[in-house]
Symmetry: C2
Subunit: 316 residues, 2 copies
DNA sequence: TCAAAAGTGTTATCCTTACACCCATGT
DNA sequence: ACATGGGTGTAAGGATAACACTTTTGA
């Protein structure tokens, strides 16, 4: 039965590369772990000694960051030659993962550090409403690009894609379309990573920091996955300290989703779903009335195979 | 920046294998394409000549089945040694895909053929209510397995997992937990593919046909993904002929989801979402009053980046 | 006339979202 | 007093699921 796998494989071996989008939330901001002085995701080769891809990844990340890896899920595997920088004498397959941690201590040397992920995707942060530069700077450039299409139909298609993805012309903003937006900007020539080296090395405030190779695409994939996931799986808690107030929890969700949430309804939703339990203690860290401290009810992971954290978005 | 990728890769090359879950719906039954006389999924090596993983997969599947591949999405990549059959002198990475087609003509030779996927997962078909053998045969075996756990806590955990996954003890059936159910049976020693060769070669009517290597796990992953996806993306139409009646559409959805749907509400939901448009023609194929023929409104793919086909399930 | 399928009308219920408001604490 | 955050009540609107019923065809 395994004959087909043996046939024709000679000379077609590849290198397998593991690459991680490691996310945390600190100070109300979503962060991603970068290495090599920033702008590269941690990665390393999959070795024969590794029992599985995930264990290989864990080993690598722990070596590079000095921190154990908690929740991990696979993102995507690719081997496209399109965007490779080198002519590639040998073929490389990249298997990407999303990991969630708490940014409790600074990562070990080697240029590793945490970075606000909106540095790379400024247009994704709608917590104070849609950033003005979407209408002012991005939309015009996308419309120019649309107009440059050879035929009428293609032009209309491009305009519509821009409108849907960026919430223009009456379309609602959909925070999950992170990857589609990045791909659109890339297609429109507004996100080529090469731009960085050509220019002064300065970073565009509206079009974001570039990253090594196609790491920004992988990061976009990770953010999109996380934004979708927080709505139906209780993964936010992987990013929270052991105890937290409901406002802290809300701020974390908002940081990830990039949009504001309706406070009273958020609290009801969380409590009604019995995702958390009171610790009995209260916090006076923030101004105002002391808040009850909560902890995640680990039991829910066993009780429900499914279940998540719905977001009562604020349409205002 | 690519230094980390170069370091330490020597001697760690692997073979990359592409493997496909190809689904169709015919005669109201969900089918999966198998090769080698059945019980193996089509697969083949990823070659350096392939521009990307997906193109490699398309080439392979088209060779093995003589049919072009339509909608394709990546499922999962794995390299676990756990379930490998051979001691594995060389390491193999398998990248699995889900593809959707129409089973219009029989596939070309080489032992390829379409098989009802419930042959492999009999417990997944709840279209006529939960199969009686879940309570009669599967549940008792799972409870025995739970009882065999060394400590009290583990026993309780196993019982609860069984209940959640198979809809026992008052839990609702959740059709998306296909993979979790298979993994549970596997863990409980009820789904080891090895059983087939040990026994008379006969197939258990309640525990399903076995497949080569870990292909059944991959198939479970594909079914789970498809069942989740039909609820928020209009993918069913990939499996439908150019024109169809609403009942045919409903039957296809039911075949995939493995559960019945409320007819009047399903029709309203589909029409209200404007996923389809009338062709003007009617069909008298089935008994009863002639039904209007519809076609998928291709425009929706452009109009919405998102949107799907909700299921108004029949709780009866 | 009956079976089989196509369709329509309507209702009860729940969930989502929003609005309005009060409470407790520190400065 | 007031700013800041905590917390409760409730109502409008929409979506979901169910029930009851009529219509059109072929056998």
């Amino acid at each position: 039965m395994a004959k087909a796998q043996a046939r024709g494989t000679v000379g077609n071996t590849v290198d397998a590369n593991l690459i991680a989008v490691l996310a945390a939330v600190t100070g109300g901001q979503p962060r991603v772990l970068t290495v090599h002085g920033g702008d590269a995701l941690p990665s390393g080769p999959f070795e024969h000694a590794h029992r599985s891809l995930q264990t290989g990844l864990r080993i690598w990340v722990e070596q590079q960051t000095g921190r154990p890896l908690g929740y991990v899920e696979q993102l995507y595997t690719f081997a496209d030659r399109d965007r490779a920088e080198e002519p590639a004498a040998r073929r490389v397959i990249s298997i990407s993962y999303l990991g969630l941690t708490r940014e409790d201590k600074p990562p070990d040397g080697q240029g590793a550090g945490w970075r606000n992920w909106y540095d790379y995707f400024p247009w994704e942060d709608h917590r104070a409403g849609p950033p003005r530069f979407i209408e002012d700077a991005i939309a015009p450039q996308l419309r120019d690009w649309a107009r440059s299409a050879p035929d009428r139909k293609l032009r209309a298609g491009r305009l519509q894609r821009a409108a849907i993805n960026f919430g223009l012309d009456g379309f609602d903003w959909n925070e999950e379309l992170v990857l589609q937006r990045y791909e659109l900007l890339y297609e429109a020539g507004l996100a080529h990573e090469a731009l960085r080296s050509q220019s002064t090395g300065e970073v565009s405030l509206t079009l974001g920091r570039a990253m090594t190779a196609d790491h920004r695409r992988i990061l976009a994939t990770g953010i999109a996955r996380l934004r979708a996931k927080i709505k139906y799986r209780p993964v936010v808690f992987e990013l929270m300290p052991a105890t937290f107030t409901l406002l802290q929890l809300q701020k974390s969700v908002e940081a990830l989703a990039g949009r504001d949430v309706h406070k009273p309804n958020f609290r009801r939703l969380i409590e009604q779903q019995e995702l958390v339990e009171e610790t009995g203690a209260t916090s006076t860290e923030a101004a105002g009335r002391p808040a009850k401290l909560f902890r995640f009810r680990q039991a829910v992971l066993a009780e429900r195979g499914t279940t998540g954290t719905r977001l009562p978005v604020s349409r205002a």
